[in-house]
Symmetry: C2
Subunit: 167 residues, 2 copies
Amino acid sequence: MPDDSSLHSGERTFPSNPVRLDAIDRALLRLLERDARTPNNALAESVGIAPSTCLGRVRVLRERGVIRGYHADVDPSATGHPLQAMISVRLQADARGRLAEFVARVSRRPEVRDVYFLAGDDDYMIRVATADSVALRDLVGTMNSWAEVAGTRTSLIFEHHRAPDTY
Amino acid sequence: MPDDSSLHSGERTFPSNPVRLDAIDRALLRLLERDARTPNNALAESVGIAPSTCLGRVRVLRERGVIRGYHADVDPSATGHPLQAMISVRLQADARGRLAEFVARVSRRPEVRDVYFLAGDDDYMIRVATADSVALRDLVGTMNSWAEVAGTRTSLIFEHHRAPDTY
DNA sequence: AATGAAAGATAGTGGCC
DNA sequence: GGCCACTATCTTTCATT
């Protein structure tokens, strides 16, 4: 297996093959999205195929990039980062050439969890998890001090719910 | 093991125990965040403890809610939802009693992937994945038609990068 | 593509330190 | 907490259809 689990997955995909998914593939994706550690045996039984067949299917899904990785969902509070926020960032109008600089800078900050590159009123949306409000204020202050940043808006995250993909 | 893998994890935690994490726990979390399917054997070797010990550690992390689940990261494009967007939602000023109604409605939409409940300029941030721009426009139109919604702002997501937690 | 069987690897238990 | 030894279970390969 090619181990690209260390490539922290961005969302761009280069569909080497359009990848036709049948009903069984979709069922497997649903199950693995729910619990990525479901044993191959159990997956196979759930979708009604032999374990060896199931193994092959999942490998193909992984190799073709349909499955980009398997990740533990770790509670930020438990690791000392209970305060989460969404920071909308507008860059300077003339900063088109400095997009990479901004991304590099922001990615270096350990508080950053998600970086969304947007088309719309804002240029970026950054989700961060910090230890406390002091750390958050520092981070926002730092970002505002960067030359390419025109402005930021920060919203605290009270609650977050995920929904699985539906196919 | 209590199987709560089917509870699509929200971010609230009720720290039954403050859960002290030592260096080994943090190493395990890092490894499992990178690749949730790393075999217990390999985890144990990486962090320098016996496999059985490692098994116990990971189980405790799971039971205490430090690890909330294990999820496959599925490429939305591969499942026919290549167009992603962030939708900021402001509710009507008098809609405080209708928060639950909004969340219920929005959660029913299959396009919705993340619902962030915010404190700030906006009340909610919704991440969605749709088949095309028609589907996105329909969704935004629908949300704007709800009585409790004062307004929305939609930004297309061009690119998304995740960063792992750093402990 | 899918399968069953066999071999090897891994997970999980319990007794002990 | 942690480890070792053991058993149960799972993964993976491969010859076959």
